[in-house]
Amino acid sequence: MYQYDQYDQQMVDARVAEFRDQARRRLEGKLTEDQFKPLRLMNGLYLQLHAYMLRVAIPYGTLNSRQMIALGDIADKYDRGYGHFTTRQNLQYNWIKLEDAADILADLSKVEMHAIQTSGNCIRNISSDHFAGAAADELVDPRPYAELLRQWSSFHPEFTYLPRKFKICVIAAEKDRAAMRLHDIGIQIVEQDGEIGARFFVGGGMGRTPMIAPMVRDFVPLDQLITYAEACLRVYNRYGRRDNKYKARIKILVHELGAEEYTRQVEEEFAHLLDQGVEPPRAELERIKTYFADPAFEDGPKNVDRSDPDFAVWVDRNTHRHKHDSYVSAVISLKPVGGIPGDATGEQMRLMAKLAKQYSFDEIRIMHTQNVVLPHVKIADLHALWSELHAAGLGAPNMDTIEDMIACPGLDYCSLANARSIPLAQRISERFDASGKTAELGELKLKISGCINACGHHHAGHIGILGVDRKGVENYQLSLGGSEAEDVSLAKITGPGFTEDGVIEAVDTVTDVYLAQREGEERFLDTYRRIGMEPFKEALYG
């Protein structure tokens, strides 16, 4: 994986010093909260419901064991012993003190990590496929392109006060495991006539106005990638709406102009920028690529011993096909039954670090579904790995099942939330685990958001739940039919909302409709798409 050189280290260190100075000026009263807020946000520091929250960037979801250990140690030293992995492959600490924040950033910089641009109206952490560099079905490893974009977008002088936040995702497979088209810019690395290039989708997003990004360019040559991104951003910075926070995302600009007109403006700007020398030298991409070379894979057994049924279930659910047939990618579920989705203790982080070192060439990935991946595990080592995970309560065999739901922190932690998300997630996983229905339902993506900002991706859930505030009481809307994958679609609301108990019943009800109606190997989503909303509505409200 990528390693900093002196320049990367110097940039991060300069940022730590800058933030230390900003925090000092805030505490001395030289900066008002209004002036300080965007500065602290650009260093990942929020003021949340109970305390400051620090969001640490995990660029394209990749980290090594030393970094994971540092994350665990920070949880113990500065926080309350745990952290929360997010839907953008980052980590959040919930109980941070402003006076400690610069010290934490300094600790992070020692392991080549930072919290740069994890919030604020700037280009955020670049996300990617969690199986990048390992998946059997990828064209190339998308991470070198993501790293190139990371450096370009860090401290970008022109794009630090955009109309609104800006999220970029890079993938390189037909299968979309990163919700690529629900980003402000989604980039798919593709091959055309034997050349590798980038396909650009612009103007996707969730939030209160969910939109699927239209394609604006089917092929950008690799030596123009940064220039094209710069053109996309400049048109947005100049013309994105600034009169209304809720209409300020690029999706609204693209929607209001129309994809065609937006594309025309980007192409015009692109033609201009091509003469400005903004593209880094091509040798830089090649330099970055050397860091992502395959580890030294060895041939070994290609099948597992399935005599332990618990292990066999976990293998079936939680491993993913690797490009080397003696390896798999193994998913460590952070969704134990009744647990808090995405939370991990400092101790668990250190354990996962140890296992990564032992079994996965020192590599770890964070999934947007708030789980952890060991990308390169020898099939011969799988049982040993599983035994350790199982013993530590990290062996839940539930990837992509209803128990593997995404849930935002909700009203338990978030000052924007209208309702709690976590208790719903806990109760649903307990209920489906107890009834044994989880396995029968197969792939079923449940996504829960505690407010309209949709951090829990409810628009993209096969089943989505949105928490709202109804006269001071938590209320939940149910929606069906969303997908964040290559068959991307936006979920539709079933009808009137439910109480907390009511929505849990409702989830059970819609899964019963599916089980009664499904044909062959259909997933919940497939059945919904075939039979439509009516049968579900009938069962819910009939």
Partner: protein, 151 residues
């Protein structure tokens, strides 16, 4: 509105990275530049299209870019667009210009600064010097980190 009393006065300029004489012409609006031919100083507001000025760059000695709020980043694109088009006159950031925006403004081509409220000199000096090296090519002519790596 009178065309001559829109802009800042030379006294408002706190930082200036130019050797030439400071223009003392009052700045006019972008519309005024388009309509009349003799103005040599213009003031750009966030909603203005800076590219409309490109035919007139030769006779402009001062361009003021107004930041009514530091959080409105359109002025950064304005600055780069003018410099990319070859504008060499004074490019002045005016309005809600604060310490922590100085380094980026400088990178986008601003070479003079007239903040609404005078800034702490020491803090500003540190802010201008925040980045020893930079990742992106911009109009400040700095050699970028990717370039330094492959020299």
């Amino acid at each position: 509105m009178a065309n001559t009393d829109l802009g800042t006065s030379p006294d408002d300029v706190q930082f200036r990275f130019r050797e030439d004489e400071m223009a003392d012409h009052g700045a006019v609006t972008v519309d005024a530049v388009l309509e009349q031919s003799n103005a040599s100083a213009v003031r750009i507001e966030p909603g203005d299209d800076a590219r409309l000025l490109l035919p007139f760059l030769d006779r402009l000695a001062l361009v003021e870019v107004n930041f009514p709020s530091f959080a409105d980043g359109r002025g950064y694109s304005v600055a780069r667009i003018l410099r990319e088009a070859g504008y060499e006159g004074e490019l002045r950031a005016v309005g809600d210009v604060l310490i922590d925006q100085l380094s980026h403004m400088r990178r986008c081509g601003f070479d003079s600064f007239a903040p609404d409220k005078r800034l702490d000199e020491e803090d500003a000096k540190r802010a201008f010097a925040t980045w020893d090296d930079v990742y992106q090519r911009s109009v400040d002519g700095r050699t970028t980190i990717p370039e330094l790596r492959h020299e």
